[in-house]
């Protein structure tokens, strides 16, 4: 398969597994007929016979490196999905991947960069409930023109103490998914704190770009491309930063911010 210019292959030791693997591939993947791939995943499904005192293990390799080994096939398949997405984000020469939630609103992209557990997906979900269009809860995908592309996959919302994600499609939340790449209108840098009031402060374009840099997947391996695309990305954007309490309050406030075209200037 090929996605964002990255070619990867998946092979399995038993037949009939592939239909279950296809939904795990990165959004927008295509069949590649090239024989040589950059990363080859080998999924070894443990045989069905249980021997006394022995565990049946399923093992996933990426090239010659073991990625996962577990008795639960579902967990190993989850590892395949995660690793393949991460590798694509890191290796693609065509795009810059930001760790961010993204929604479309009034023809512009609102980008919410942030580390794991910062509450991106929760905020994205609330914006979808208020009528925003779903673009991603994991990666903002930026092209050479600075446009933000959709990376649509089910939202993974962490609802229990183990941080396990429950998957929701945008449709199940009553939202549409974006298709067209958008110009970024706003970036929201926020963290969650119980009981906090959402009172964001404007951030300068340079400081905002630095926040985006801090969430760029491949900045270490592709610094030139990353900076060049960030420079294009932020041209028409405003940045706000703050601590939020309940996502609903923050989401409503963010969507009510005037867009840059309507007079909100960058700090």
């Amino acid at each position: 398969m090929s996605a964002f210019g990255v070619r990867a292959g998946v092979r399995v030791n038993i037949s009939g597994m592939m239909p279950g693997i296809l939904p795990l591939l990165p959004p927008g993947w295509k069949v590649s007929h090239r024989v040589i791939v950059e990363r080859l995943y080998s999924l070894v499904v443990g045989d069905g016979c249980e021997r006394h005192g022995m565990r049946r293990l399923h093992v996933l390799y990426a090239n010659s490196m073991r990625v996962a080994r577990d008795t639960s096939l579902n967990l190993v398949l989850e590892a395949l999905e995660t690793d393949l997405q991460r590798y694509t984000a890191e290796a693609t020469p065509q795009m810059t991947f930001l760790h961010a939630g993204v929604v479309g609103w009034q023809g512009r992209a609102i980008v919410i960069p942030g580390h794991s557990l910062s509450g991106k997906t929760t905020l994205v979900r609330e914006m979808l409930r208020l009528g925003a269009t779903y673009y991603s809860d994991e990666f903002g995908v930026i092209d050479d023109s600075g446009l933000v592309h959709p990376f649509v996959r089910p939202l993974g919302i962490r609802e229990d103490p183990s941080y396990a994600q429950t998957k929701y499609t945008a449709k199940s939340l009553g939202a549409a998914s974006g298709i067209k790449p958008l110009t970024m209108g706003m970036a929201v840098i926020c963290k969650y704190e119980a009981g906090a009031q959402w009172q964001p402060a404007p951030l300068s374009r340079g400081q905002g770009a630095l926040e985006l840099l801090a969430n760029s997947v491949a900045v270490r391996s592709q610094p030139h491309q990353t900076l060049r695309r960030l420079q294009k990305l932020v041209t028409h954007a405003v940045f706000i930063k703050g601590t939020r309490g309940e996502a609903r309050e923050a989401a409503a406030s963010i969507l009510n911010q005037p867009c840059p075209d309507k007079g909100l200037e960058t700090a």
């Binding site: 794991s116 557990l117 270490r220």
Partner: protein
Amino acid sequence: MKERQLPRARVDCISREFGDEVLVYDLQQDVGHCLNWTAAATWRLCDGNSSPSQIAGTLSRKLSVQVDESVVLLALDQLADAHLLVEPEVLPGRPSRRVAIRRMGIAAAIALPLVTSIVAPTPAQAASCLHGGSPCTSNAQCCSNVCDLLVTHRCVLG
């Protein structure tokens, strides 16, 4: 004049303009810096041939306002801390922020120099972490930051 009093900007960095500010990426240390206008203008004038007072003079002419040398020294101090100067040594007469503000006057025409830095993330840091019980191969992958590498090869519950 000693060489250390003629600051020179490192050239092995990538820089891009973002409005009035400049983003600098240090390829050696994988650190990103945001320089505000004053810090960026000072950094650009660090050619290895100009002293801090000469840099202050050049800035004054560019802006048509008096830029005190203490402002330049404050900028150089921050640039040196960020490792954006060649052989950053302690500059003579490290100014305090308070002195620089006083000398700039209340109605200052330029902002105090400011350099903000972040360490660039590794790909694992810039992706969602794995929940407790997920197969893992390193601590950094797990939300709890603990992967049981000895027995289960799974993320430990946080």
